[in-house]
């Protein structure tokens, strides 16, 4: 089986519209959460989020804009950056897997608004190709002439990790030489936030994972896309590896549609470790799913303790969602950047908003300030509504 490395990365999120800016913000412990600004926001009870600021649509042509929902714009921009970083020579057989939970939700909203609220008799002709879940994968493929396996995956908040995990396994098993993989989400529109409001899991005032005073999650948006390729091929063309994707684990709770079981999460972590050939002692950092809801945080900490046993007390376990928000289907990809920061640069990003630790969340959650550390391996957890768990295991390149 082949080793798989990451040789390119790109992102758009509330912290920055590129990888260097995002890593710098994570290292500085800066938060991208602030007041939401979009049409009808005054009709929402929840008015904070980690919104991409100052997004310049004019980077795209009018023709592209007619076809690109906001989630596609983010994905295409992230893929452009990732491919530029990876450098030439990937070849036309490269594939693309982009995860998303909601797809082109703003396009749905605009067309429903036109026919239901404004009483119009027609919607713009490109609604279908704009909103479809595979639009980012397709446009990235078309833009760069990538003719390998290309499709979308959707598993709510685990979409990105499923996309990256699948791409990893396809390369490892020889089904592809190189893949672009990641996630994209743009749910920060009136209908998107209104839907989440209904579940009563959003915080009105801030994201404080593992803190006793937490009161819910804060939504984010954006995309991150990575170039994964066989390590030998990357070395042959002189590409620099950011990190190695060493293992992947995915399970289903087969329990509740929204409440995590813990067991499924633990088994996904165990699978990822086993596939990577890692012992718990070798792992120095876990980027937690860490949504800032009581049920997630406590269940996740219990699952980590179950898997890591006594080694759990030597782990750093931070949630970066208080910085970039919960970017739903894009969140795992953005959080993979946090793992790259930890493994490549030796900077473990912090959990912001953590000053009164929940006694049930008593691991080293790296409160409020990033920390220097030399790490060999890390996990990135994603545990989705629907009880779907996807965990990536990474090694320093």
């Amino acid at each position: 089986m082949r080793r798989v490395v990451i040789t390119g990365a790109g992102t758009v999120n509330a912290l920055a519209q590129d990888v260097p800016g995002t890593l710098q913000a994570m290292a500085q412990g800066r938060s991208g959460i602030g007041p939401l600004a979009f049409r009808d926001v005054e009709r929402l009870a929840i008015r904070i989020g980690a919104q991409v600021q100052g997004w310049d649509e004019t980077r795209f042509s009018p023709r592209e804009l007619a076809l690109y929902d906001r989630f596609t714009q983010f994905a295409v921009a992230a893929a452009d950056e990732a491919l530029a970083m990876a450098g030439p020579g990937l070849g036309p057989a490269t594939g693309v897997i982009i995860g998303s939970a909601a797809g082109g939700i703003a396009t749905w909203e605009d067309s429903y608004r036109a026919v239901f609220q404004e009483g119009k008799s027609r919607v713009p002709p490109l609604v279908v190709p704009r909103l479809m879940m595979n639009a980012p994968a397709s446009h990235i493929s078309m833009r760069h002439g990538l003719r390998g396996p290309a499709f979308a995956v959707s598993s709510a908040c685990a979409s990105s990790n499923h996309a990256i995990g699948l791409a990893f396994r396809m390369i490892r098993d020889g089904q592809a030489q190189a893949m672009l993989a990641g996630g994209a989400e743009a749910m920060l529109c009136f209908g998107g936030v209104k839907a989440w409001e209904g579940l009563r899991v959003l915080s009105p005032d801030g994201c404080r994972p593992f803190d006793a005073r937490r009161n819910g999650m804060v939504m984010g948006e954006g995309a991150a896309v990575f170039v994964l390729e066989a390590a030998e091929a990357a070395a042959a063309r002189g590409a620099v590896a950011l990190a190695e994707v060493a293992g992947f684990g995915m399970t289903a709770d087969a329990g509740d549609i929204v409440v995590p079981s813990g067991q499924g999460a633990a088994e996904a972590m165990e699978q990822a470790l086993a596939e990577a050939g890692l012992t718990p002692q070798e792992v120095g950092y876990i980027n937690a799913h860490g949504t800032g809801t009581q049920v997630n945080d406590r269940t996740e900490v219990a699952a980590i303790k179950q898997v890591f046993g006594p080694s759990a007390s030597h782990l750093m376990v931070s949630s970066t969602k208080a910085m970039h928000g919960h970017a739903i289907g894009a969140t795992g990809a953005i959080e993979l950047l946090a793992c790259i920061l930890a493994l490549r640069d030796g900077i473990v990003p912090p959990t912001l908003g953590l000053s009164h630790p929940d006694p049930a969340c008593d691991l080293d959650h790296v409160p409020n300030e990033s920390r220097r550390a030399h790490l060999d391996a890390a996990l990135s957890n994603a545990f989705a509504f629907g009880g779907l768990n996807a965990v990536l295991a990474l090694r320093r390149a």
Partner: protein, 89 residues
């Protein structure tokens, strides 16, 4: 002389074809504008919005669906003028 309807239709076609309106002649064939199928569908939508009409055009079957001459710009303008007149009548 181009009428106001023709001016609007040509402006819409030009915007979709990314060319200058003055470069579109009334006797030009639609094919010569360089519009692909999505561009044409977008142009028809913009025409419907501009004149508040419904243009019976199916790009999957252009010859059978239209009931008007969609081969030239002039044919499209004439069809739009007819549809506007029907709405008024």
């Amino acid at each position: 002389m181009r009428g106001k309807t023709a001016e609007t239709v040509i402006a819409i076609l030009a915007a979709q074809a990314l060319i200058d309106p003055s470069d579109i002649r009334l006797d030009a064939s639609m094919d010569s504008l360089g519009l692909d199928s999505l561009g044409l569908v977008e142009a028809i939508f913009a025409i419907e919005e501009a004149f508040d009409i419904s243009v019976p055009f199916n790009p999957a079957d252009p010859a059978e669906s239209t009931g008007f001459d969609s081969a030239t710009v002039a044919g499209l303008v004439a069809a739009v003028e007819d549809l506007i007149a029907q709405k008024a009548g």
